[in-house]
Structure formats: structure tokens, C-alpha cells
Symmetry: C2
Subunit: 220 residues, 2 copies
DNA sequence: AGGCGCTTGTGAACACCGGCACAAAGTCGC
DNA sequence: GCGACTTTGTGCCGGTGTTCACAAGCGCCT
């Protein structure tokens, strides 16, 4: 039998989804001069339970000190490394409409380690113009670039989103963040995450209605 | 004394999160003149497995016809009812910066049954101006309104998000959609959902790195 | 040095969720 | 009217995620 020399730590998806939150809180603490934090305090600040937090962190290794807590700088580095933020990551925003403009002006990309390198649109009136001190290029221009480490953000109308996805997948992109309210079909090995505003609102509406029904149940 | 601390949930959260997708697909089908759809076709269009789709729909009741499929209009109505979209829902957008402008101009609210009724900012230079044919009001103005059926979208910088949340919770709002990258603390009974761009990108970065590691393992 | 108090890391139990496979239940053709 | 065909609704199971509870480990104080 093959000896499993590298105990490949498979980190659960649910944990991966929380690591960015921990990282953000840790960097805030670091900026405030805090150098050690307990799981209880960190969990409070991250809005999770301490037991869950400790289990999440245990997937990264044993970076805590019993009786003391976690070294803030060390833990932040470990999470950043695990998330793949040690190497440079680039972002291309496709679709320079209302949303694309807001995204292009958003400073949160740079502060989290993502460089917005390309702004893309296919409207001839927009291509070549400057947005947020950056030149807008055509989609054909983007597809000639190196896809390594590139994340494509789709902010086109839903009818064009699949075409854009097909084009960037063909160039080798394997990470897509989709703002268009539609289902994207991509080959295996390509990861799509979606941000759907209407879905979020409808989930909120559901819970609000359920809350009201619960009240009626007790107080008819 | 206090019994049943865990509220018996009729519909699982995972199902609720998918219902809006089904609803969107169903309305597209309806617009295309399709009046009956099988679980296989609907699942394909929604990007899920047919068995899972059928289980999701089974929580709403038995609205399908064996051997035939689901009546598109009927099913759309049932989902809309379950999501609480039969009663009017209103949205207030707080923070009229880059993102707030894009949201105010977004037509997707209205087409999904949400009326953007208030645009809010606390910058005196912005209050009173018109954005997307709507007048911007101060936060104090919003907090005097009826919170029933109101969903508050927070698009302020993170440092002000908690204050805004506190203010709208105090007026009785129980549903908040938070775009600011920070943890909001709210009382029980108030639901907060967050949209965090950097988190999404970092999750994508993690998977992209993991994919590359997997390749190295096979091809060093 | 050794005990004591604090916090981590984790075993175990439990709840949840997704997928398979199939019986039940309906339609359609004749 | 009836059998063949189609599709739904669900029992079941394995995998995932969450929580409790506590032993193990570390530093500090005496
Ligand atoms: N505006 C918002 O606040 C908001 C919020 C959530 C989701 N969305 C979604 O985001 C998407 C964009 O919204 P918007 O309001 O910015 O729309 P918009 O119409 O203002 O902008 C769309 C832009 O995409 C460009 N485009 C179209 N096809 C393209 C292609 N094939 N390649 C490159 N560029 C292309 C157009 O030229 C246009 O500039 C939509 O799908 C919308 O549903 C928007
Ligand atoms: N711009 C984007 O694409 C984007 C994307 C994701 C997340 N975000 C987040 O969304 C938030 C807004 O981003 P932005 O780029 O629009 O920022 P911005 O600075 O352009 O706008 C913030 C607005 O909020 C207003 N504001 C501040 N405090 C307020 C208060 N107490 N009550 C009411 N209004 C208040 C300000 O007057 C300003 O108009 C930020 O938290 C940002 O991190 C933005």
C-alpha cells in the first residue's frame, strides 16, 4: 500500500467560507495592536461559536497555545497562506455598467490582496474610455491574456453572462464570480460563485413571513 | 419551562435558498409560453439534480402530477407564496456611495417584487438630491417609517454599518442585507444576510490554489 | 519544583443534507 | 376499460457540518 506521507488536510467547504471572516477580524486586531487572542474573543468578533472556530482552525494545524490563545500575526499569515493569498491574484471585471463602475471604484479589492487588472466591456462607446484611472478593453483583448491566477467577475446583463463565461473558460480561467441573475454552465474544474441580490432579499422575505406566522401562532 | 428551544423548521434552509432560483427559472419558462415542466428539465435549468429538486418541492406540498410534471404557473405561485412575496415588500438602501448608486439604478428589485421606497444617506450634500428619480432622505427620516415588510440594505462604509443596523433595528426592522465587510450584531429575531465580495474572491482563490496543488501532485 | 487555572484541540453524539433507487400514481394510446 | 409508459414523491443511506464536553497541554505563581 502507498504510504500517505503528506496528510493532505482536506478543509471542509464550510470552514473555507469562514476563513476570510477570521482573516478580516485578525487584521483588524493587528491594526489595533492586539497580539494574542483567545478563541472565545475571536469567535465573538467573527460572529461564530468558539468551539466551531477552534475546529475550523484545527484544520490548518496547531497554531494556538493552550492556556494563552492564538498569536494574531501568525494566525493571519497561516490563513492567508491557506487561502492562496501569498501569490498575486488578479481580477478582471466584465461589464462596465452601473455595477461594473461601482466595482471598479471599490477599494476593497486592493486592501484584500486582489489587483483589478482589467476592465472589460464590448460596447464600442465604452471601450477605450477611462474608468477609475483604468482603460476599458474589449473582451477579445482579455482572452489573449494569461489566465493564471485570474478571477473573472461577470457584471453583464444575464443574457450575455453565459457567452462571457464560455469565452473566459476557453482562455483557461477557472474562477468566476457571477453577479448576473442566471445559471452558468461550465466544465468540471471551473468554479463559479454567484452573488444574487434578489435571492438574498427573497430569503429575508421568507424568514420575515415565517416570523410573523410564528407570532400569529402564539397570539391569534 | 422553556420547551422547544429549537423552532421546528418546516422547510430546510438549504431548500429556501434554492427556491428563488426555481422561481426565476419558472418565470422565464412562463414568459416563453411553457406551461408544464418535468423535474428533470427544471433541475437542468436551475443547475441542480432532479432528485433534490423534487425533494425541495415536496416541502411545499404535492403540486406535481405523476407522469406529466409541474404546472409552471401554479408552481411559481406556490413558491412566491411560500417566500412571502404575495404581500408587498419594500426596500430601503442606506448609503448612497458608489454601490448605493448602482443598487438604486438596479431594475432587478422591481422585477422580483421589491419596491425601492427609500434612498438614505447622512451626508448633507447628498440628502435632498435625486438619484434614479428618487429623493434621498436622512436616516432619521427613515426611522420614522413603518417597518412592516421593510428590508434594509446597508451600503455604508463598515465603520458606520453597526450604527445603521442599531438604528433600523430600534425602529422595528427585522431583515437586513449587509454589503459592508464587517460583522453585525443584532438581537434575536432580526435576520442579517451578508454579501461580501472579498470573501467570495478568497474562496475562489483557495479553490484555484487547491486545484493547482492537485495538478502538481500528479505532474511534479 | 510542583500545583493551579486557563485555553486549546478533539472524540463523540447529533442534526442536516444530497443522491440513489423504487413504488405509487397518474396519463396516454388503443 | 386497460395495460404500458412516464414522472413524482420518498425511504434510506452515507457524507458533511455543528455542538457538547473534557482531557491534554501550557504558563504563572508560590
Ligand atoms: N446594478 C446593480 O446594483 C446590480 C445588482 C445586482 C446584480 N446586478 C446584475 O449585474 C449585471 C449588471 O448590472 P448593471 O446594472 O451594471 O447593468 P448595465 O446594463 O448597466 O451594464 C451592463 C454592461 O455590460 C456590458 N456588456 C453587455 N454584454 C457584454 C459582453 N458580452 N461583454 C462585455 N460587456 C458586455 C454592457 O455594455 C453594459 O455596459 C446584471 O446582470 C444585473 O442583473 C446588478
Ligand atoms: N463599491 C463596491 O463595489 C462595493 C462592493 C462590495 C462592497 N462594498 C461595500 O459597500 C459599502 C459602500 O461602498 P461604496 O463604495 O459605495 O462606499 P462610498 O464611500 O462610496 O459610499 C458610502 C456612503 O455611505 C454614506 N454614509 C456613511 N455613513 C452613513 C450613515 N451613518 N448613514 C447613512 N449613510 C451613511 C456616505 O455618505 C457615502 O455616501 C462599503 O462598506 C464597501 O466596503 C462596496
Amino acid at each position: 500500500m502507498s504510504t500517505a506521507p503528506a496528510p493532505r488536510r482536506e478543509i471542509p467547504d464550510a470552514t473555507v467560507a469562514r476563513l476570510p471572516v477570521y482573516l478580516r477580524v485578525l487584521r483588524t486586531l493587528l491594526a489595533d495592536g492586539v497580539d494574542v487572542v483567545s478563541s472565545e474573543e475571536l469567535a465573538e468578533a467573527a460572529g461564530v461559536r468558539s468551539a466551531g472556530l477552534r475546529r475550523d482552525l484545527s484544520y490548518l494545524g496547531s497554531y494556538g497555545v493552550r492556556g494563552v490563545g492564538y498569536d494574531v500575526a501568525r494566525l493571519a499569515d497561516e490563513i492567508a497562506r491557506e487561502l492562496g493569498l501569498t501569490q498575486d491574484r488578479f481580477v478582471a471585471i466584465v461589464g462596465m455598467g452601473n455595477l461594473g463602475h461601482a466595482l471598479a471604484a471599490y477599494s476593497g479589492f486592493a486592501t484584500r490582496g486582489f489587483e483589478v487588472r482589467w476592465l472589460v466591456d464590448n460596447d464600442p462607446a465604452i471601450v477605450g474610455t477611462q474608468i477609475a484611472e483604468r482603460c476599458v478593453v474589449a473582451l477579445e483583448e482579455l482572452t489573449r491574456q494569461d489566465p493564471d491566477g485570474l478571477i473573472v467577475v461577470i457584471a453583464t446583463p444575464p443574457a450575455q453572462a453565459q457567452d462571457v463565461a464560455d469565452a473566459v473558460v476557453a482562455m483557461g480561467v477557472r474562477s468566476i464570480l457571477n453577479f448576473a441573475p442566471c445559471v452558468l454552465t461550465v466544465p468540471d474544474g471551473v468554479e463559479v460563485r454567484k452573488v444574487d441580490l434578489a435571492t438574498e432579499l427573497q430569503i429575508l422575505a421568507f424568514h420575515e413571513q415565517r416570523g410573523r406566522d410564528d407570532l400569529r401562532e402564539v397570539n391569534p
